[in-house]
């Protein structure tokens, strides 16, 4: 991986402002941005498979079609199997949901009661009883209140999600043609710079998405391993889901930890130690993430200073909430590369002069042809 030149302060500020503006816009058309990004991610993740087939003699189009078709068949089989499984287990899931919610409530109430025992002034406030009452009422209303809106939300997102494989297919097949088409409109003077810019963008995005996938798989593996060792049911699924939740920086990991702690508290109501061990496992994987996995995957590939990354995460969350948190780093990576290239062109008097001369020559050529 090449180290790109560091942008100047003005370019950096411009990149930050443009990223925030784009995040604001993206939030308004989230129905398209989400499937587009998922398709882009899918496309970059499928690229190695396409390359693998091309190395073995297939043409680009045939390799891309074969990989896409294989993915579709796998997805359809998985969906059908999932639907049958969901239909068979739906009743049990409803029971499980209530079971795990009450398990989570018990954990909270028991933890507060434990603190009350240790801190006598809190005992007088009777917090555990209040919490028990409040949680009981909330959970009763939760299913009634949220089941229909959640179902409607899922149905609303269905068309967007169905767009993902189609967008990914055309990205795989036609990305090269689209790039040629875009570069065609670049004036001759900036042609090589434009090619370099596209190459860098491609490299940054590929690094980010492939890094994210690697990070998710590493997280999922270590979390599943730890959860299985602690005796938690469905350790592999939980590991995978919580690792994917970590795509939402900070908040996602927190949700993942809460989910696993609730399941642990319900599966082992008499052993509070298991729930605490799960928390310790999450903290351990988080530390491994920050110190080992992130630098090996995403961190090494997107050249951001850690302080800048955290600043961008806060800005992203402020401008566009959870959407901003998820999108801000890859978007900032793209914007930074584009801004840096544009700044280089703007600050290069030779290129500007060449562009002016080229335009004059084109006018002369057209005038001659008309005479």
């Amino acid at each position: 991986m090449k180290t790109f030149p560091q942008p100047g302060v003005l370019t950096l500020l411009a990149s930050i402002v443009i990223t925030c503006l784009l995040l604001f816009l993206f939030q308004k058309m989230i129905w398209f941005v989400v499937p587009f990004l998922l398709a882009l991610m899918l496309c970059y993740c499928l690229r190695p498979a396409v390359s693998f087939l091309m190395v073995r003699g297939m043409s680009h189009e045939a390799a891309a079609s074969a990989v896409w078709l294989l993915l579709q068949i796998t997805a359809v089989v998985a969906l059908i199997a999932g639907a049958f499984w969901a239909m068979a287990e739906a009743g049990a899931w409803r029971g499980d949901f209530s079971h795990y919610v009450s398990g989570g409530q018990n954990l909270i109430v028991n933890s507060i009661a434990l603190i009350e025992k240790k801190v006598p002034p809190l005992q007088e406030m009777n917090l555990s009883a209040q919490a028990e009452q409040w949680l009981g009422q909330s959970s009763d209303r939760f299913i009634e209140k949220n089941l229909l809106p959640l179902t409607l939300l899922a149905l609303k997102w269905l068309p967007s999600i169905l767009l993902v494989p189609y967008l990914a297919y055309f990205m795989l097949i036609d990305a090269g043609r689209l790039k040629k088409y875009l570069i065609k409109s670049v004036p001759n003077a900036f042609f090589e710079r434009a090619l370099l810019l596209f190459s860098r963008l491609d490299e940054s995005l590929q690094s980010y998405f492939q890094g994210l996938l690697q990070l998710t798989l590493l997280d999922a593996f270590f979390l599943a391993l730890g959860l299985a060792a602690l005796g938690i049911h469905h350790a592999i699924w939980l590991g995978l889901v919580t690792a994917m939740l970590a795509w939402i920086p900070y908040i996602g990991s927190l949700f993942g930890a809460i989910l696993v702690v609730i399941i642990a508290a319900t599966d082992f109501p008499e052993k509070a130690g298991v729930a605490y061990a799960c928390l310790a496992l999450f903290a351990g994987v988080r530390i491994l993430d920050d110190l080992v996995f992130l630098p090996l995957t995403i961190g090494r590939k997107l050249h951001f200073h850690p302080v800048l990354s955290v600043l961008m995460l806060f800005l992203g969350a402020t401008v566009a909430g959870t959407t901003g948190l998820v999108l801000v780093l890859p978007l900032f990576g793209v914007v930074a590369v584009v801004s840096e290239s544009v700044a280089q062109v703007i600050n290069d008097p030779k290129l500007k002069a060449r562009y002016k001369v080229s335009r004059q020559l084109a006018v002369v050529a057209v005038s001659k042809s008309l005479q």
Partner: protein, 158 residues
Amino acid sequence: MRFFGEDIKAQKVEMLKGVRVFRELSRKEILEVELLLHQRTYEQGEIVFEEGDPGHGIFIILSGKLRADPNCELLKEANLEFGPGELIGELSLFNESPRIATVVAVERTVVVALFQAEFSSLLIKNKSIGVKVLVEIARTLSHRARQLLLGEKHVPSL
């Protein structure tokens, strides 16, 4: 994103087949390479690249004529005009070294450019095409090096 109809595609294949670098490629292989080529048109007097510019790829002339104006003494005597089928900038295909001459269009010239990063990916993904193109580039390089060493009226590598 199919911007080329079959007729235009066939014309393009024929045109590229006539270029020395691609002469060993089959029709199917030319179509694969065509995806990576960027066609540009330069008006008379227009600069294609300047001496000292970071080089990112080669230019293959389809029609017209280009002239190189090097500062280097060794190349002053050389015949530095390039016509259809010839390639320029091949030294930059292997590393992003600075261009050693300024190249200007003598007349309206159509070229196709092959970018270094795309050529590298071609070498990895499609070795058969990569080797054929590479052999032709190596032939051009050795021919030009030989002319330079023997002091013939040569066309140097740029």
